[in-house]
Every structure is written in structure tokens, then in C-alpha cells.
């Protein structure tokens, strides 16, 4: 395998954490001048591999060679010295420091970082800004610019596009292509197959800590990647047929009229029927977060009205929204879970929300309800003692299972599949359809536009805090949505 052009060769690397084997025998060969995808379901070992390549953790066995020389990294600094730099899954910036202070901390040259940020369209960014006040996509691009300033031979991007809207993700792709053109390499991790097939030269697929194949993602390789990741023949996309089927009927479960809040949410109206899945499409920061927060009782609107089953609502606390049957599944699972508590306690959490529930727990009834939700969602409960030990996809299922156990009328899903592997993603969409079929109303925001057509009946597009377009899912192809989300009137939409 190793030839002159091989930049990085990882052979049979293994690592276990206690009794959990994260990597069994992972192999990865990256050539010079290549964008190489690293694929795998949640828990397959991608992040562990990245951390070993950048010296954060050390392998138990196996070897890492760079240009044919065996290397062992004891720290990220050593890995950086060897030309390996990573942008991790979560922002690696100290929230209470300014951008400038963060750069000094990482010994990154501010002028180089500024040049990269200018290329990403952030020329005006003030480096004296405290990091905490910046939106997530901006943080991700600062992370990227900081990594690029180190001029790495091998750049590792661990799900950087998960938190980026489509327009900003383009900058990441441009950088990857530039790196390839310069004969350097990029290791690219993403759950979005479209990105992989458009950008990457080869894809290494991990399953259960073992490399199960190297695929060319371009020539119809997508389905093969999915097959390798799942270890079984790929199912058909969950909702393709179902979405078009159910024509919504009945009184609106949720009606929003002229809702506004703060600077971002200006004037949003729509109605959502029981049994319907309404998609919300928007670029970053178009008021969608404020909309969901208002509907979930986390934020008070400045004006407009929310009607649940025809009754006007005024939520002062999420408890009020839950009482009206409206429940939220947030994008950030960490925000919704009790990391140190069991799956059982996490799912049963809303069941003890009222003062009347403070007494003796109905243990048996609760266990039955939880078991039922676990079964319906197919949650892997091997690490059930502490939710923080579950994979991201399973954690998200726990959040949804909580509301299945507690009961609801309208499910508010805010980017529920962010950073979740394709297999789990399909399960979640299938479940959303199933819930709707059983009479629930679902409001679904997703940052991945192709998913809209897959899971929704209708879609509203937000731009500048207003609904700029409403489409049936059948017409909501990516191009149309993108145009509308950028505030451009879509000819197809107008004709419809």
C-alpha cells in the first residue's frame, strides 16, 4: 500500500477505555494531495482515531507513520510539530477570553488567522470580542483559521460542517481543495454523504473500531459507504414514499400568528395540523432559534400569538408549554440530558416535574413506560447506567424517548440529527413520520436541506425573521430551498 506519495499511514491501531473497546484494528492510508473521508456510524471510533493522530490520547497498539517514519505523539504540540493539526468536533476556544487572547494561548499568529478569516467573509471581526458572545458558526471558522495558521501537512476536520450553514460550509470545501492542490492532505469527517462524494477522493469506513473498507465516494459510492457503515444492506431512504402520502387534515394543533421576539424573530405566522410534519428551513441566525425557544416556553415573545389546539397560550416556563402539549428536542443533546444519571432516570425526568410527583415514585409503572419508549426507539442500553457513555445518536434517542414516555401533542425538533450518523438519522426520521401518522404534529428545523424533502409534508423558509416562502415537500428540492433561504424569490415556488 505504502508508496512514495503516502503521507500518513496508520496500521492496526487499537485503544480501549476500561472495558469499552473504542478501536480494535483501524487502518488508514492518506496520500499526499488527497482529501480523505473518514466515515463511520456514531461510536465507530472516528473521534478516537483523530485524537490519537493529534496526540491527545495514546494508542494501546499499532503504528503511525508519517512519510514512512514511525511516530509517536505524546501531546498535541508534538503532533503539530509533525504537521498534523485538527479542528475538533466542538469549538476549542476558551469562552471567557477574547479571540486575541485565545490565539495567544494557542500561539497562533493573529495576522495569519485574520487573513484566513477575511477569506471566509469575516474581515470585520473584532479580535477583542469575547468568544462567548459569538455564534457557533463563527467559532468554528475561527477554529479552522487557527488550525490553518499552523500550516499543517495533514489537516483533520472532525465534523466541522455540522454546525455550519450551507454558505459558510463552502469556505471549508474551498480550503480543502486548496490544500489538495498544494499537495497536502485533508482528513475529512462528516455525516453528510453529499459533501463526501462532492469533495473527497477516497473514503475509509470504520465500523465497531475496525476499518471495513476504502471506497471511492464519487462513482455511486454513497450507498456502498452506507452499506459498510451499517454492516448490512442499506435500507431505502426512510421517508421517500411516505412524505408525499399523508395529506394533512383536521384542526391546527399549533397556530402561530405574527410572532416576534428580540432582534431576530420579526414576524412569523404558520399553522401546523395534527398528523403533519412541517419543516423549517433557514440559514444560520434567521430567527429559527428564537422561534423554537418561544414555542417551547424558554423565551417570551414580544408580540404575536401562539395557539395550541385553538387556545391562546402564554408560556412563562417550559412547564407551561409542556402542559399545552408542546415539547422540545434541542439540537444540543448535552443541554437536555443528565449526563451522570441512567437512561431510566433521563427518560422519566418529565414524569416528576409537578409538585404532586414529589412523593413515592411509581417505580413499576415508570419502568414499563420507559421500557416501552426504549423499545420503540431501539435505544442501545448497554451503557445505560450513565447517559454520558452513550453514543450521540443514542443520546438523541433518549431525549425523544423522554417525550414519548411523557406524552405530547406537538413535537418541536430543532436540528435533531446534528452530528448523528446516517443509520440513526434514518431511524429518527422514520420515527418522526410514525409519530405524525399516529396523530402528532411535528415542527422540524434542520440545517441539512436535503433532509426536508425526506421527512416533511410542507416547509416554511425563514429569512430575516420572517416566513419568505411556504412549499409542499415535493417541491422543496435543495436548490429551491437554498434560493429562498438566501432571500431570493424562487421562480419554481412562485409558480406553485
Amino acid at each position: 500500500m505504502a508508496d512514495a506519495a503516502t503521507l500518513l499511514e496508520v496500521r492496526d491501531i487499537a485503544r480501549r477505555f476500561g472495558s469499552v473497546v473504542a478501536l480494535r484494528a483501524a487502518t488508514l492510508t492518506v496520500r499526499a494531495g488527497e482529501v480523505h473521508a473518514l466515515m463511520g456510524a456514531n461510536g465507530a471510533g472516528k473521534s478516537t482515531l483523530v485524537k490519537m493522530l493529534t496526540g491527545v490520547i495514546r494508542p494501546d497498539a499499532g503504528s503511525i507513520q508519517i512519510r514512512g517514519t514511525p511516530r509517536q505523539f505524546r501531546s498535541p504540540a508534538e503532533a503539530r510539530g509533525a504537521g498534523l493539526v485538527s479542528v475538533y468536533q466542538d469549538p476549542a476556544l476558551v469562552p471567557d477570553l477574547t479571540i486575541a487572547q485565545n490565539l495567544r494561548l494557542a500561539r497562533a499568529a493573529p495576522e495569519v488567522v485574520r487573513r484566513w478569516l477575511a477569506q471566509f467573509g469575516f474581515a470585520a471581526l473584532d479580535f477583542a470580542t469575547v468568544v462567548r458572545t459569538l455564534p457557533l458558526p463563527t467559532l468554528r471558522l475561527i477554529d479552522l483559521a487557527r488550525a490553518l495558521a499552523a500550516e499543517p501537512d495533514i489537516l483533520l476536520l472532525d465534523e466541522i460542517t455540522a454546525a455550519l450553514p450551507a454558505d459558510l460550509a463552502q469556505h471549508v470545501f474551498a480550503v480543502a481543495r486548496q490544500w489538495r492542490a498544494q499537495g497536502r492532505s485533508v482528513i475529512f469527517i462528516s455525516h453528510r454523504l453529499a459533501e463526501i462524494s462532492a469533495l473527497c477522493d477516497r473514503a475509509t469506513v470504520l465500523r465497531d473500531g475496525v476499518t471495513v473498507g476504502v471506497v471511492d465516494p464519487a462513482q455511486g459510492g454513497e450507498e456502498r459507504i452506507v452499506a459498510l457503515m451499517l454492516g448490512a444492506p442499506p435500507e431505502q431512504p426512510a421517508a421517500a414514499g411516505i412524505a408525499a402520502a399523508a395529506a394533512p387534515a383536521g384542526p391546527p394543533a399549533l397556530r402561530v400568528e405574527g410572532l416576534r421576539s428580540g432582534e431576530k424573530l420579526r414576524d412569523v405566522s404558520f399553522s401546523l395540523a395534527a398528523g403533519e410534519v412541517l419543516g423549517v428551513a433557514a440559514l444560520e441566525g434567521q430567527g429559527q432559534e428564537e422561534l423554537f425557544d418561544c414555542l417551547a416556553g424558554l423565551r417570551r415573545p414580544d408580540g404575536g400569538s401562539i395557539l395550541a389546539d385553538g387556545m391562546a397560550q402564554r408560556f412563562r416556563h417550559p412547564a407551561d408549554a409542556i402542559r399545552a402539549g408542546m415539547v422540545l428536542v434541542p439540537a444540543d443533546r448535552v443541554q437536555a440530558l443528565l449526563p451522570q444519571r441512567s437512561v431510566q432516570e433521563n427518560i422519566a425526568l418529565p414524569l416528576v416535574r409537578r409538585l404532586a410527583d414529589w412523593g413515592a415514585l411509581p417505580i413499576r409503572a415508570e419502568r414499563a413506560r420507559v421500557a416501552d419508549a426504549v423499545r420503540r426507539l431501539n435505544i442501545d442500553t448497554r451503557a445505560a447506567a450513565e447517559v454520558r457513555r452513550l453514543s450521540g445518536g443514542n443520546q438523541q434517542k433518549v431525549v425523544i424517548a423522554r417525550w414519548l414516555a411523557a406524552g405530547f401533542r406537538t413535537l418541536l425538533c430543532f436540528d435533531p440529527t446534528r452530528g448523528i450518523d446516517i443509520g440513526t438519522k434514518r431511524q429518527i426520521y422514520a420515527l418522526v413520520r410514525e409519530l405524525a401518522a399516529a396523530g402528532a404534529a411535528v415542527l422540524l428545523f434542520t440545517s441539512e436541506l436535503p433532509e426536508i424533502a425526506l421527512a416533511c409534508d410542507r416547509v416554511v423558509v425563514l429569512f430575516g425573521g420572517r416566513v419568505v416562502q411556504e412549499l409542499p415537500a415535493a417541491q422543496a428540492d435543495e436548490a429551491t430551498l437554498l434560493r429562498a433561504a438566501h432571500g431570493l424569490a424562487s421562480r419554481e415556488g412562485m409558480a406553485a
Binding site: S19, L298, P318, Q335, P339, L349, V352, L361
Partner: protein
């Protein structure tokens, strides 16, 4: 190493119980004849007030909070009891003592839960206020009769059939209530939940302030109760009665496996922790070491245990 850590983590109470047994063994070896049923009874007797104080502290640590006012509250409750018994009778004086606990507990709860004051700051403040108020009060009533009701003396120092300490009959039911309450009630579940992730609780429709208020109230009441037992043991209420118990109460919970960051632990470990510290104290007394040396040893052993535990579990 990781396997050992995992083992210890799952059985931290067992490990501490073994250490406790070892400590008793050391006493039996260096001072033969010391470990008798009578010594055992005395150890339990002295452990009870510490166990009560540490119980309240456990509830708060589970929520990610802490209460530094418990010593002042315990002292204040004992002082109110002894200085009012003569005038208003035992039951009313008892209620007065408990009311102080409820009042300071509520005050702490409102400060932490509603006004979002840091628990450390809030309870340090109310502790100092209580202490000061008690000094003022003691100067006002100077010359009045101090009397500790006979029933309280019996509660604090009596032994049933000469063996079983009477205060166990208070501590055991409270312990059972805490153990069961934490495991089998909605409020118990919520204490862990709030300590683990307040934002998640809010999302799940839980009004976090109510849970915190209940926890601080319970801790204040338990502190007052501990003070009442304590004054029965010493048979004299002075204004520094419970001061030495503040840090051991927190330490008992921590070495018993309750995380100061909230969300993990329980009262079972705290009970063993309280017994451990009581036996340690009695061992150091037996060694006839001067008081400062005793304090240094006591402090370093607690530090060592707490540090080891934290390293093993996180």
C-alpha cells in the same frame, strides 16, 4: 489501574467501610481492651449529630450546592432551646429551635434558588448573621436561667438498657427517610437531576427553584435537629457548640462518595463517612497527641481520602 479504579468506583462505600474496620482494628491493637460494646455505643452516640448535619449537607451537595451555615444554625437552635425552656416549656422551646433551622434554611433557599446567589456566599452570609444574632441575643438575656430539658439530655446522652444510645432512635428513622427518599421519591430524583444539569431540568418542565428551596429548608431543619441532639450530649449550650462540626459534616459526605459538583452520591456513603470520622477522632484522642497535631492529622487524612476518591471517580 483503570480496572481497579472502576472496581473502587462501583464499591466506594465498601472500600470506606473496610477502611473504617481497619481503623477500629488499629485502635484494638494499640490500646487493647478499648474496643468494647460500651465504646461502640459511645461512638454511635457521638456520630449521630454529625450524621444528621452531614445528611443535610449531602442533600445540598447532590444539587451542586453547599451550606456553610449549618454550624451556626445548630448552635443557635440549641441556644434558643436551653434559654427558653424555663420560660415557655420544652415543646415550645423545641419548636423555637427548629423554627430557626427552617427560617435560615428558607432564607438560604430563597437566596440561592430565586435570587441565584452562589450557595457558598449565601450560606456563609446567613451563617455569620445567625452567629451575630445569637451573640446579641445572649447579651440581652444575660442572667436568665439556662436549662436543658431532661428529655433532651436523655436523647443526647442516654443509653437504652445501658447499651443502645437513645439518639439512634432519632438518627435511624431520619437516615431511613433520607435513604429511601433519595432513591424512591420524586423529590429525591429531582435533587440528583438538578445537581446534574439545571438547564435540562428546566427543559423537562421542572421548576428548579422549588427543588432547591426544599433542599435548603430540609438542610436547615436537619441542622437544627443536630444542634438539639448535640446540646443533649454536652448538657451545656455555649455559642461555639457546633462550630467544630462544620467541616467534618461536609467531609463525611465527600469521603462517602457524594460529588461536590452535584448529581452523584447518596446518604449511605455519608453514614459510613460520619462513622469513619468519629472513629478517627477517637483514635487521635487515644494517641494522646496535642490538639494541634491532632488537627493536622485529622485534616490531612480527610484531604487524602477526598483527593483519592475524586481522582478515582472522575
Amino acid at each position: 489501574m483503570t480496572r481497579l479504579a472502576g472496581f473502587l468506583r462501583d464499591r466506594s462505600i465498601l472500600v470506606l467501610a473496610l477502611l473504617l474496620a481497619a481503623l477500629v482494628g488499629v485502635i484494638a491493637v494499640i490500646r487493647p481492651g478499648t474496643v468494647t460494646p460500651d465504646w461502640l455505643a459511645n461512638t454511635l452516640l457521638f456520630a449521630a449529630p454529625l450524621g444528621l448535619l452531614a445528611g443535610g449537607e449531602t442533600l445540598l451537595l447532590l444539587t451542586g450546592g453547599i451550606d456553610l451555615s449549618i454550624a451556626a444554625v445548630a448552635t443557635g437552635a440549641a441556644y434558643l432551646l436551653s434559654s427558653n425552656t424555663a420560660a415557655i416549656g420544652t415543646p415550645a422551646a423545641l419548636l423555637l429551635g427548629l423554627a430557626l433551622g427552617a427560617l435560615i434554611g428558607l432564607l438560604n433557599g430563597v437566596g440561592v434558588a430565586v435570587f441565584r446567589v452562589q450557595p457558598l456566599v449565601m450560606t456563609l452570609g446567613t451563617g455569620l448573621m445567625t452567629e451575630g444574632a445569637m451573640v446579641v441575643y445572649s447579651q440581652k438575656i444575660i442572667g436568665e436561667e439556662q436549662r436543658i430539658p431532661a428529655a433532651i439530655v436523655t436523647l443526647g446522652s442516654g443509653k437504652l438498657a445501658g447499651v443502645v444510645p437513645v439518639d439512634l432512635f432519632l438518627w435511624l428513622p431520619v437516615a431511613a427517610l433520607l435513604l429511601l427518599g433519595l432513591r424512591r421519591t420524586g423529590l429525591g430524583r429531582l435533587l440528583y437531576a438538578v445537581g446534574d444539569n439545571q438547564a435540562a431540568c428546566r427543559l423537562a418542565g421542572i421548576r428548579v427553584w422549588r427543588v432547591l428551596l426544599a433542599a435548603y429548608l430540609a438542610c436547615g431543619l436537619l441542622a437544627a435537629l443536630a444542634g438539639i441532639v448535640l446540646v443533649g450530649i454536652t448538657n451545656a449550650a455555649d455559642l461555639s457548640l457546633a462550630n467544630v462540626y462544620l467541616l467534618p459534616a461536609i467531609a463525611a459526605a465527600i469521603i462517602g462518595g457524594t460529588s461536590i459538583f452535584g448529581g452523584r452520591g447518596g446518604y449511605g456513603g455519608t453514614i459510613v463517612g460520619a462513622l469513619f470520622l468519629t472513629v478517627l477522632d477517637s483514635l487521635l484522642t487515644l494517641l494522646d497527641a496535642p490538639e494541634p497535631i491532632k488537627q493536622i492529622l485529622y485534616g490531612s487524612i480527610i484531604l487524602l481520602l477526598a483527593a483519592t476518591y475524586t481522582r478515582l471517580t472522575d
